[in-house]
Amino acid sequence: MIQITDLEKFYRTEEVQTIALNKLSFNVKEGEFVAIMGPSGCGKSTLLNILGLLDDPDAGSFKFNGEEVAGYNERKRSDLRKHNVGFVFQSFNLIDELTVFENVELPLIYTGVKPAERKKRVEEVLEKMQIMHRRNHFPQQLSGGQQQRVAVARAVVNNPKLILADEPTGNLDSTNGNEVMDLLIELNEAGTTIIMVTHSEHDAKYSHRIIRMLDGQKVTENVLV
């Protein structure tokens, strides 16, 4: 599903150039659950942004479903992203002014789904995430675990092929963290590809494969059974 070859990304200030990704290469198959680990500043988040089509690499190749997407403009990336990728963030990134229902509905609005269909799909996913009873609440009225459930619901409501999770349990206690990980496993078992950036060895063990990074490069790759 994902093939990256010699991927490079630099950050430049007036005087200094920092290499965030240094000729990074790996593949992810459809239906895989991959965990990416490494110390702060090793380039995990940069990688996730590129995989999520939020950012563009400076060099190298990035094939998504066999299609070369490196060098796509913002409009093309956005189009590809909204139909294929779901995001789960450490800080949930829910929009405070929208209710639970409206937050989850948002990706469907931007993909042009009709209101009746939206309602049906949002309710389905809220039921699945067991958060239906909170549908009219605003994010601030929910616990951290509940907020992350909403974020996961929002990420999957469009039935994306790929879910990118950036430290999904980082702001949660262990109970809520485990619940979120169970949700991700459930999604993966249903066929969704998941790439997760994490610091937690415990969470990484839920995945099929762990890629460890340092200074923008892949250092090890462990396949878990």
């Binding site: 950012d55 956005s78 829910l94 405070d96 929208l98 948002l106 990706p107 609005i109």
Partner: protein, 806 residues
């Protein structure tokens, strides 16, 4: 989707209520004031445009060459109108017009009314529709009159006035007139107005019968309707033979006295002034200069105020966008495109603008009455209830919303997805736009404050200027009763004889300043003196005139108490003495046209008997017994002026029980002549007040955002030892710098416009830097106070708290 945008917009606005309130309050205040000011400007600009034939109606005046340059003359002689229509091609219709106060009696009622003496064409030229009675020729007969609806109500109440007879005092006799028609009340935008219209020939003898056939006696205006086939320019050029024929003596005298012809080589040029230009006409060098500065200035202030409020909105929205970066980033991540985001943010702007517009209209309607009172205007919402004006208003609001709401929305929609998601905003342009807008706002504010200060200083200068007569202790009022003037004055003297506070009583045929009845007139005459033409204003006075008004006699004597013995004496002012140019001015003889010689018995210091912005012209005081003296002057003791006023009023009511007492102190009369300046002060003053309030609202909200953004920096600085005052200074300095730049830019502009405006006044203040420095200092002080509300609070906050927040 749209419903969704508005729902979210409402929640966002509700969430940040301070931001929303500041914006809505600012925009509401600006919109309401802009609506009122626009209404005023449109009202002023629409004066006399309601006449159906307006584009063909002109007032005729002449550009006369005199030894002292060119002078415009709006007065015409009796035979002029008929001869002009007969001899000049292109004159479709013509009418003479003379306005005058008259005393109307009906049964036991006596009313002072305003009359217009006109020719029959008047009602077919001007759109003053006849709604009852003879609609075709209402004033063909000398005894028929037309009255307005309001006047009819005043005289007859609900009774039908058509065919009724009223008496009008003319040449000291009650003359019956029959009401043949009722004219619709004039629109508020008519500069011409009357209660009663009479045939031109129905005037008192001195105004009409005495002048029949005479080309040298000029006392009325003439209006004409131009043929559609002709241009005003063509008509003006075709009048040379006419003036040569009828004004030969006048032209010859001008040549003899050294007058120079105009560019066209003529000494008297007939000119046409469009009726709709009359309210804006000033005369300079013999020509009408049309000056619509006042309404355009007012409209300009309205635009500037809206600009200030919109700049606030733009600045606040951009500053606030920093708080919404995550939302923008998340929406983009989930697939929102630029257009969708633009419409979302623009939806919020529309919501604010629509609310402010609604509230602005409501506030304007609530403020309408005080506005009308303050600016003494009849402008109302009707003024702007025309399809074109409403379209203009809607169009302006749309443009304002598109620009003010659209620009920040565009900026926000163009932010990068990743940067937004990370909460980082790219600082490009180093806040050039924000700073530029703040400089512009404060520049306008300083401009308006300086303008107000200059105006105020000039008005104070004129108000407190020594006018050459006593304006504080003299009560003036018109002789508006049925009695003969001399008899009325004598009875008044008798009635006030035992009052110790009454110091002296006199009368004259002219008023100083504007009387309470709004009337003002002056007589002007010319005569030959030692082979050259001399012009002077003419004032006929009663005994004690010089003493009552405390005029400064610099040579000779005043008129005697026995006025009859001075009937061939005159007192002249310094300007007249200069014009006569005699070494021994006393006992100089001046011989008027009817060969009567008058001897100069005294010279008085020049005094302002006309508008305060005019050079004092030559003036001659006559003591002609039995002359019509229209105004009484009573000098009272300086203590208890109020009681003295009541005494004079009571005495007048005993002399003329049915006449209204229209007395006022001369300083009030002078104040009335400053109406135009006072209105300007009120307009520009309120404009500057609003401008500074709005600018400070903007500054306050920006300081709010800046302090929030620099919270961590403030904390660190405090930890490493910065004092409260240093932090306050640091935070305030950036803003004060902008106000200072605004001052540097605005001051020369304010100086230029102020000095241009002051050129309109013969006597004016000298501009000093202090006036502008005061304007700048007021602005800086208020700006500093505004910023300090937030900066001091931020500076005294516990650094641990701000660091923790970060």
């Amino acid at each position: 989707m749209i419903r969704n945008y508005f729902k979210i917009a409402f929640r966002n606005l509700w969430k940040d209520r301070i931001f929303t309130s500041l914006n809505i309050i600012g925009l509401t205040a600006a919109f309401s004031v802009a609506i009122l000011l626009t209404m005023y400007a449109v009202f002023q600009l629409s004066f006399d445009r309601f006449h159906e034939q307006a584009q063909y109606l002109y007032q005729i005046y002449s550009e006369d060459s005199t030894p002292n340059g060119f002078k415009a003359n709006l007065s015409n002689p009796e035979p002029f109108a008929a001869a002009f229509k007969n001899e000049i091609a292109g004159v479709e219709k013509i009418t003479r017009h003379r306005g005058s106060g008259i005393l109307v009696s009906y049964r036991d009622k006596q009313l002072n009314m305003h009359a217009s003496y006109v020719d029959p064409d008047f009602f077919t030229m001007f759109s003053f529709p006849i709604i009852k009675g003879n609609t075709q020729n209402p004033i063909t007969s000398g005894s028929s009159i037309v009255i307005t609806e309001k006047a009819a109500k005043r005289i007859f109440g609900s009774q039908n006035p058509i065919g009724e007879t009223v008496s009008i005092l003319r040449d000291e006799k009650e003359v019956p007139f029959t009401i043949t028609a009722i004219a619709k009340d004039f629109p508020n935008t008519s500069s011409m107005g009357f209660d009663i219209a009479l045939n031109f020939k129905s005037q008192p003898k001195h105004a009409y019968a005495r002048n029949i056939g005479r080309w040298d006696m000029k006392n009325h205006e003439v209006y004409m309707q131009l043929s559609k086939e002709m241009t005003p320019d063509q008509l003006e050029k075709s009048t040379t033979d006419f003036t040569q024929l009828h004004y030969r003596d006048e032209i010859d005298n001008a040549k003899r006295d050294g007058a120079q012809p105009n560019i066209g080589g003529v000494y008297k040029q007939i000119r046409l002034l469009p009726v709709s230009d009359i309210p804006f006409a000033n005369f300079s060098q013999g020509k009408a200069i049309i000056n619509r500065t006042m309404p355009y200035l007012v409209f300009g202030i309205a635009i500037l105020i809206v600009c200030i409020a919109c700049f606030n909105f733009i600045n606040m929205s951009i500053a606030k966008s920093a708080q919404r970066l995550k939302e923008i980033g998340m929406r983009k991540t989930l697939g929102a495109n630029k257009l969708q985001l633009f419409f979302q943010f623009w939806g919020e702007s529309i919501l604010i603008f629509l609310t402010a517009t609604g509230l602005g209209i409501l506030t304007a309607s609530l403020l309408l009455q005080p506005f009308q009172t303050l600016f003494k205007t009849k402008a109302s919402f009707e003024t702007i209830f025309s399809p074109s004006a409403l379209l203009g208003l809607i169009l302006s609001l749309t443009i304002i919303t598109i620009i003010s709401g659209g620009y920040p929305s565009l900026l926000m929609s163009r932010l990068g997805t990743l940067q937004s998601l990370k909460g980082k905003i790219e600082k490009n342009g180093k806040n050039f736009l924000r700073n530029g807008l703040i400089i512009f706002q404060f520049g306008i504010t300083i401009l308006l404050i300086s303008g107000t200060l200059v105006l105020w200083n000039q008005v104070e200068f004129m108000r407190t200027k020594d006018l050459g007569f006593n304006k504080d202790q003299v009560i003036a009022f018109p002789l508006n009763g049925k009695r003969n003037d001399q008899q009325a004055i004598q009875l008044l003297r008798d009635a006030l004889e035992d009052k110790t506070t009454i110091m002296s009583i006199t009368a004259s045929n002219n008023i100083l300043g504007f009387g309470k009845d709004g009337n003002r007139s002056t007589s002007f005459m010319g005569f030959e003196y030692k082979g050259r033409g001399v012009n002077t204003h003419m004032l006929v006075v009663d005994k004690d005139y010089v003493e009552t008004l405390d005029l400064n006699l610099i040579e000779g004597r005043s008129f005697r108490k026995n006025l009859a013995s001075d009937s061939l004496s005159v007192i002249i002012n310094e300007s007249m003495a200069k014009q006569l140019n005699e070494k021994e001015i006393l006992n100089t003889k001046i011989i008027l046209e009817d060969s009567v010689a008058f001897s100069v018995v005294g010279v008085i210091k020049d005094f302002n008997f006309q508008e305060l912005d005019r050079t004092i012209a030559p003036m001659t005081l006559f003591a002609l017994p039995n002359w019509n003296l229209r105004n009484v002057y009573v000098k009272v003791a300086p203590d208890n002026l109020e009681q003295s006023f009541i005494n004079v009023k009571t005495a007048w009511e005993s002399v003329e029980p049915n006449a209204e007492f229209l007395g006022s102190f001369l300083d009030e009369n002078i104040e009335r002549t400053l109406h135009k300046e006072r209105t300007m002060i009120a307009m520009i003053g309120s404009g500057s007040l609003l401008a500074i309030i709005l600018s400070c609202i903007g500054l306050f909200s920006i300081s709010l955002q800046v302090v929030a953004q620099r919270r961590k920096e403030i904390g660190i600085r405090k930890v490493v030892g910065a004092s409260v005052s240093k932090i306050t200074m640091m935070l305030s300095a950036d803003f004060l710098k902008l106000v200072f730049i605004a001052f540097i830019i605005a001051t020369p502009i304010a100086w230029y416009f102020s000095s241009q405006w002051l050129q309109n006044y013969t006597y004016h203040i000298n501009l000093t830097f202090w006036i502008f420095l005061t304007g700048g200092s007021i602005t800086v002080f208020i700006a500093l106070a505004t910023i300090s509300i937030k900066t001091v609070k931020a500076a005294i906050q516990n650094p641990v708290k701000s660091l923790k927040t970060e």
